[in-house]
Subunit: 302 residues, 2 copies
């Protein structure tokens, strides 16, 4: 079993690559749920959704987020009656949120709803929320405390981030299916090229989870989300700067130093100070071929 | 002030006619909320919505229900993930339900939300829910007890109805704005051509409301929803039959006998036994002109 820890866009690219080179029963994708929030009365799980759409081949490649073949009648009409429109929910995407919200309210777990929807969309590998208990990433910014999506989407990441907290993490229980997989001698744990602060950070903040990974006996292989000091997408590099750290592949590796056995990074990036075994490979994933190639690099390391 | 009691489609037609011949501040439309229900976690108010769309000129004239320029991406996608699809919610229509649900959960009254949305859609006359407290029409059918929309939409009115109850009506308080209008010497109370059992029935079941209408000193003018023993649309005639009553304009009038001063009915229908003053007029409303003409007949009576 390969266990892949993932946030949204970047992580989902490698997860898709892995899904092409592994039998479905040998891949378990652990999704960050620190991004989850309630909006318009709906329970929205951005990283689970991104993974679900990517693995079902339903991701919107033009937008880079959301669902493909999307229409926008709901949003347009919501604006006309004075509703909040900063978080754009397409008509098709909305079906997922409405149905998940209904089922969560009826008492199902996020794991159960996620698994059932994935099955209906023909996804083979398992997508597991890191926990069925709510964990909410909050950022202390120059505008005060903000929920992650408010900072990320509504404020477009403008206010500088001074601190990150994971509300609820202290009492959240790790997904039992993950603990079972970690206890059954996995082939490797892969940390996808996601933001270490707000995508992988919440996963590792769930009590016991970091220790369970460290103690599982398998190689822990991370892929750098930083190339030549820049993030491929999103605020990762800027968040390092705001924390007073020069953004680099090595700076990411340092955050996983207690876990890492292997680190996949660009041929030209500086590996000084990284104690894991370094694997040099192109990490930019534009095409499906790129994703599959990087997945093979990761599996070779495993 | 003209106070019009209305259910959905038929009532909304006359309400629209009245809105064309009265200044907005002289028309108050009291909507049945016995049809309201929770579906997919959303608070849906079918009669308020029908009135809102009709008065805003947003009704879907091809379908005869819902909103115009509608798209169906949500419903299509919901089906693909195993959601319930018997109640068809268009993408635009959905915006109204999501926004209303959010605002009700935040503590606003149904009256406040209805009024604000009507204002944003440019509707002049007031649309008032009969009560801000929940009243739910339930039908004892040959398939057991059913919520109204389950019988009406999901079961397509197939199971015969043996009894009707209005759950919550005994403790529901009449809309205070209605009581104020009834107490301020209205020009007339109009009972629109809606189903007497499930559209007007719930309104008159709200404690004190029937008495307030009877005691307001204004003429009470009903328009028959039955023409030549047939309902224009919907199950009205069949519900009379199932109650062991021959459907007729007179049978409808009998249900309002304690209230009626005037009754508008087709020239050819039998008025035997009706004690109100009979006004003969065409009551079928196909075009806007028909609706306006019937509204004028009603106002002439007032």
């Amino acid at each position: 079993m390969i266990i892949a820890l993932s946030g949204g866009i970047g992580g989902a690219k490698l997860a898709l690559g892995l899904s092409h080179v592994l039998p479905p029963e040998e891949l378990l994708i652990l999704a960050n749920t620190g991004d989850d929030f309630e909006h318009l009365g709906l329970s929205i799980s951005p990283d689970i959704d991104t993974l679900t759409y990517a693995l079902a081949g339903l991701d919107n490649q033009e937008l880079g987020w959301g669902r493909r073949d999307e229409t926008w009648s709901f949003m347009e009409t919501l604006a006309s009656i004075g509703g909040e429109t900063w978080f754009r929910l397409g008509d098709r995407d909305l079906a997922l949120h409405v149905e998940r919200t209904r089922r969560l309210r009826a008492g199902e777990t996020l794991s159960a709803v996620t698994a059932d929807i994935a099955r209906r969309l023909g996804i083979g590998p398992r997508i597991l929320p890191m926990s069925d208990d709510p964990v909410r990433t909050r950022l202390l910014s120059d505008d005060g405390w903000l929920d992650l999506q408010h900072w990320f989407v509504r404020e477009q990441t403008r206010p500088a981030v001074r601190a990150v907290e994971f509300a609820g993490a202290e009492t959240a229980r790790p997904n039992p299916a993950l603990l079972a997989a970690l206890g059954a001698r996995p082939r490797a744990v892969v940390i996808c090229p996601s933001n270490p602060f707000i995508s992988i950070g919440p996963i590792l903040a769930v009590p016991g989870l970091r220790e369970a990974i460290a103690g599982c006996g398998a190689p822990v292989i991370a892929v750098s989300p930083i190339i030549a000091g820049q993030a491929v997408k999103g605020p990762t590099a800027r968040m390092f700067e705001q924390a007073g750290i020069v953004p680099s592949a090595a700076a990411v590796a340092a955050r996983y130093a207690d876990l890492l056995t292997h680190y996949v990074m660009e041929p030209d990036d500086d590996a000084t100070g990284i104690e894991a075994r370094i694997i040099r490979a192109p990490t930019l994933m534009r095409s499906l071929e790129d994703k599959i190639a990087l997945a093979r690099v990761v599996l070779d390391a495993a």
